[in-house]
């Protein structure tokens, strides 16, 4: 009881406990050991699996940083657990969409999923973002910067109203343009976070899972091709042991909950 209270207190204060730091050290040691055993894949895989479980344990304890989830994803990936790797990467991506390793490794994991889906059914979502539009990390510092820019733009416009010097007008309009662009980008990132809350991510954990038209084995299959392991979808509804999903291609159907990983916050997990 006192241990739990200490953990809660440590989390509230934002300082990791010694036990958590020890877990982290163990996870990193296991990962490093796995890398050292690369020439002996079976032993390396066991080490990566252990590292992944330790990282996941830390995540379950309430720690959530893009780096931690990237580590967890890498460990699952190298332990040949593609669905859990994708889930970890996607969680990290929500925290920091600018993390370069997360993006590259998630792309590699999705490529492997596509290799297992010759028909393309259940293929990963395609990023609709314009390639020229930079990603923004929804960090407090950046938001504060734009808030200050917004205020300065107002000051420049007011000054222009007072003295009618064109320079102030140009400054004010430039600032407001930047703020508008930033707001749009924030809105796009925020929409992903919101979407992830309302319709959590679901990753198919097994091969051969059939997407059905209803919540039961008696219902016909939505597609003759089963979903590939690692296919990503959004959770629309849960009825008993069945999940209603929407795939990135827009297909809606049901799968047994036992064959899927759901991105729920640690407090909501079973």
């Amino acid at each position: 009881m006192s241990g739990a209270a200490f953990l809660i207190l440590a989390l509230a204060l934002g300082t990791p406990s010694a036990e958590d730091e020890q877990l982290l050290a163990q996870a990193q040691a296991a990962f490093t050991q796995g890398v050292a055993l690369r020439q002996r894949p079976e032993e390396a895989r066991a080490q990566f699996h252990r590292a992944a479980e330790l990282y996941h344990q830390l995540h379950d304890r309430g720690y959530a940083s893009a780096e931690l989830l990237s580590n967890e994803g890498n460990a699952w990936f190298l332990a040949d657990d593609l669905p859990r790797a994708i889930l970890a990467y996607r969680r990290g991506f929500l925290l920091d969409p600018t993390h370069p390793d997360l993006r590259a490794n998630l792309a590699a994991a999705r490529e492997k999923v596509l290799q297992n889906s010759p028909t393309g059914f259940g293929s990963p979502p395609v990023d609709q973002r314009p390639p020229w539009l930079p990603r923004l990390r929804l960090a407090g510092m950046l938001f504060t910067t734009f808030a200050i820019l917004y205020s300065l733009s107002w000051l420049a416009l007011t000054r222009w109203w007072m003295v009618r010097r064109p320079g102030w007008l140009a400054l004010g309009l430039l600032g407001m343009s930047l703020v508008t662009l930033a707001l749009w980008m924030f809105w796009r990132e925020g929409r992903d976070v919101y979407e992830a809350k309302v319709h959590p991510l679901v990753v198919i954990a097994e091969d051969g899972v059939v997407l059905r038209k209803g919540n039961g084995l008696a219902y016909p299959a939505r597609s003759e091709t089963p979903l590939p392991r690692g296919a990503e979808a959004r959770l629309l509804y849960r009825r008993g042991d069945w999940l209603q999903l929407e795939l990135s291609g827009g297909e809606i159907g049901w799968v047994p909950a036992a064959y899927a990983l759901i991105d729920l916050p640690p407090s909501d997990r079973d």
Binding site: G14, D20, A44, S65, F77, L95, S151, M162
Partner: protein, 338 residues
Amino acid sequence: MGPLVVLLSLLLHAEKAVPEPPFANRPLLYAGAIGSYRASLEATPTRVEVEQPIRLTLRVQLKRGQALQAPGRPDLSVMEDLQSLFYIETPQPASAHPAENTWEFYYVLRPRSVQVKDLPDIPFYYFDPSVDPNGYQKTYAEGIALTVTEPVRQIEVIPPVPLPAGPASLYRIGEGSTLLRQDTGEVWPGTFFLVLLLVGPPAACLVWWVIWQRLYPDAVRAARQRRSRAARHALKALRTVTQLPPEKQGRQVEQVLTTYLQERMDLTIVEPTPNEVANHLQRNGISEGVRNQIVELYRSCDAFTYGEGTYSAPPSLSKGAGEVILALENEPCLAQRS
């Protein structure tokens, strides 16, 4: 015809010369050898696993004289004691005749168990009528020691599945206790703070503007004047007047003033006289002082243009026009319009 008959008779004679081995007591291993022979064995390898093949060679050589009849290949499978120790197979070829008086017979033996310690002596039977015309002679090919081992268990070697291929970043991990953060991924403040952030800066700017108006009334007035587009254009045009030749400056100042009055006070006359300007200003409620100032300026411009009397130099003419415009902008009736 004659030689053929001679050859046939010779052959018949020769056949009759080979003695017939007796049927009585003929050994099962006897394979037709007539003459005197010795036998030897050769086995390769001598160290084998159970049921693995040993190539056995039975070599038979004529000891003396001529082979009256070439030996055949003895059938070792009739040897029950040998059968109990080995599986016996026949390879291809099964025999050879490497030299004139030497014959080789080949066998493949597979030891049945690790109990087999050697290959026993193999008897070779032949019929030598010069020794005993009614019986068979026997010689032994000396046995060979063998080492038979347990079979090595066949383990199917499955090549290890390599680690998944991926970018180099797959093997890179972040380190340090800074990983143990609790980021939420959200920085949107609450609705109240967001509204405050959106409305606060413009509200603060409004307050600033009001205070600024109180603290700097002249600056306010100047700004208001600058806000009059007609006045702004007129003042700008007056600044360029000085660049004209002196004889054209009076005319230009008058035109600038007239355009200003047309835009700002709806003066419709294209080339008004000073009196027409005075009347128009009066109708628009311009104070007498300013009105007189403008009329005087018009007269000055006319006088300068048409050379009547002595009047101010051109720079002071355009400066005076600027002051008159500012004075007009300060008139209450115009200030209300802007």
